[in-house]
Symmetry: C2
Subunit: 405 residues, 2 copies
């Protein structure tokens, strides 16, 4: 429900907007440039800049003399003003990052998921590792805004609960948001991995090129992040982005739903590894997948026939799925990333680029652009940290509205 607007709401919004613009310009922006881009008067802009400087979010850069007229003094982001922690829970690996206010990763660690532990032990382990990483990064704790956690769905958005992600049985029905906040003393945000990844890429993008876009997340499962008008699409319950049962290979592998050729089973890493003759069974432990994928990569590079065939089939499958999703979303720009993509992308990307224009199902009026995620290996973890920054520092039109008292 929309609400009215008044001057205090406008003041907060303008301040966030100016900070957002400064953040996206590594070289900084002068007051004149900011006034032009925002449409704000020089006086208002001056007040906003003064407040941002007083709160320590921006610093004055070096004066730049360029052409006639007054030299320009850019305002630059003070990256060390705030920090956030990001945690990515994946069946194969738990990743922890600390990011600064620019969204840049300043500390990273990963470890295998604790197996067979109960929920309180899992939470305690997350809290311990997040704390250790913050200490190692030498971050003043008062500047830590909070912790973002990315997990496979389904989640319960309203209560911050991990529901029943098939490959994370130990986490089922854990009220992660509440428990991790209690264990760490930091505010905690929980999002589905694909939503966190989309928010992370939106945050990392300087020129708003992803304001309407989609993100294919290729990990133990496959999902889609979506952005509309600069905001990630969460859906009613925070579970948007499930494309595992999209039919892509009629007559293909049987899926748990009873159908054959669902996207999830067709490009499941275990399936590719089995089809390529690398693993003896299509069912292997999630933690055994990484090493086997490295072997697949080696065989593709060596042009081993079965491996190349597996790669080409996967590329054609991804191409069909992306085209069908683009027909629906008219997103035009697709980002691709995730744990499996990170290990296999170099081999898959050329085949996928070649396959995309050949898909006869396309109804798009303009060519589709596919690019790899900027956040690379830290996609979901840095995305999770961005959730925290995003909540505090993205200029949202809804911020312009008077809050409910």
């Amino acid at each position: 429900m929309k609400r009215g607007s008044n001057m205090p709401a406008v003041g907060t919004y303008n301040q966030t907007l100016v900070l957002d613009m400064i953040r996206r310009s590594p070289a900084g922006l002068s007051r004149t440039e900011l006034a032009e881009r925002t449409g704000l008067s020089a006086q208002t802009l001056g007040n906003v800049a003064r407040r941002l400087a007083a709160e320590g979010f921006v610093v004055e850069g070096h004066r730049v003399v360029a052409g006639p007229g007054k030299p320009r003094t850019p305002l630059q982001l003070n990256r060390t003003a705030r920090y956030a922690v990001g945690i990515h829970l994946d069946p194969a690996v738990d990743t922890f990052v600390v990011v600064d206010l620019s969204g840049g990763v300043i500390a990273h660690t990963e470890r295998p998921p604790a197996e067979g532990a109960d929920a309180p032990e899992l939470i305690a382990a997350l809290a311990r590792d997040a704390d250790a990483l913050l200490r190692s990064a030498d971050v003043p704790l008062a500047r830590v805004l909070g912790i973002g956690v990315a997990a496979p769905g389904p989640i319960d958005d309203a209560t911050g609960t991990v529901l029943t992600p098939p490959l994370l049985p130990s986490w089922h029905h854990t009220r992660l948001r509440e428990q991790l906040a209690r264990a760490t003393g930091h505010p905690v945000v929980l999002e589905k991995d694909v939503v966190a990844a989309m928010v992370g890429e939106l945050w990392a993008e300087a020129d708003h090129a992803l304001d309407d876009a989609a993100l294919v997340y290729y990990g133990a499962g496959i999902g889609l992040g979506m952005a509309v008008d600069g905001e990630a699409v969460r859906g009613r319950t925070g579970n948007a982005g499930d494309i595992g049962h999209l039919l892509v290979d009629p007559g293909g592998q049987e899926c748990s739903c009873g159908s054959r050729g669902c996207l999830g089973v067709t490009v499941a890493p275990e399936r590719l590894l089995f089809d390529a003759g690398i693993t003896p069974s299509p069912v292997i432990a999630p933690t055994a997948v990484w090493g086997a994928i490295d072997e697949l990569r080696v065989r593709i590079a060596a042009r081993e026939a079965r491996a190349v065939e597996v790669r080409d089939r996967a590329a054609a499958t991804f191409a069909l799925a992306i085209v069908l999703l683009n027909n629906l979303l008219d997103a035009e720009t697709f980002v691709i990333g995730g744990p499996v993509w990170n290990r296999l992308g170099r081999e898959l990307k050329p085949a996928l680029d070649a396959a995309l224009p050949t898909v006869r199902q396309s109804t798009a009026t303009r060519p589709l652009v596919l690019r790899e995620a900027r956040l690379g290996t830290d996609l979901a973890a840095a995305g999770a940290a961005s959730l925290v920054l995003d909540e505090a520092f993205t200029a949202r039109a809804s911020d312009l509205m008077i809050g409910l008292s």
Copy 2:
């Protein structure tokens, strides 16, 4: 790109917001109720209400005495303050409506599409019929805001051009927006039919229940309208919503794309009619479809075995498609409507409601709600008219931003 905000922008937004709230409350809202809902101060609210009354958009209702305290005088929408025309171009029928400021249809006419005419003749016929309908409705022309046109995609959003909708060959590459504006003297908006339908349902909804929802449009083609955070999703080029090639029936009918079992061909009305033994060929003229569908309805009602089988297969297909789309969008609420649905919905709805919970592909955490479009037979035409009202009278957060000078 977001812009800054200032008091003039806020003033316009608040006025639109208050009008929007009054419009959605047929009994009207008192100043006290409006102040509560908007969060605006009594003084600001009073000023806004005065301006709306002075401009003729709202009128004072009858004083209501209810309980102790001051009697309440509701502000009500003056439905006759503005009007808009909606035109729906469909392969089988062109529909024209006039709506008042409430979005209610006050005049309606339809006719078969002009066949074999060239673009200037088609435009002239649209202008003539729109004009005749406005005269018959006795609407003061100065109060007509503009004309909205809904057409099958693909369109070119930027130039307001109908590109190449397969079933509307006479319209291909027509710069409809520009030419119809010139022929009528009214501003013209062009949107894809599914987007117009979604905007129409959002406009017609009193309680914002569709702010995150999807709309299955079942006409000569099938498409999906989507709403995120109260706004219809248009995509980068205005062509969002194409689901014709979603695979739903492996081994089914061959599609123009070369695959078998795409959604578009599987539930195409011509296909259903042929499979039910009503028409001798799966290829018939669009204008011959309506009468044959009436026959299918009769046979289903008479429990004719082939007709019932066709209905059940169609319902199962729609159920699968809706579940797959809900997995992606987490929309929870689906609206269904469109020209074919209008004629077949009464027979299809119970079968579809029964099929939905049985789809094993669902990954939703809550039950899906399916309901029929409020706008009924005028879905796309009234939706097209709503585009004009929506542009002028929906309180958008983006209105809060300073315009580009």
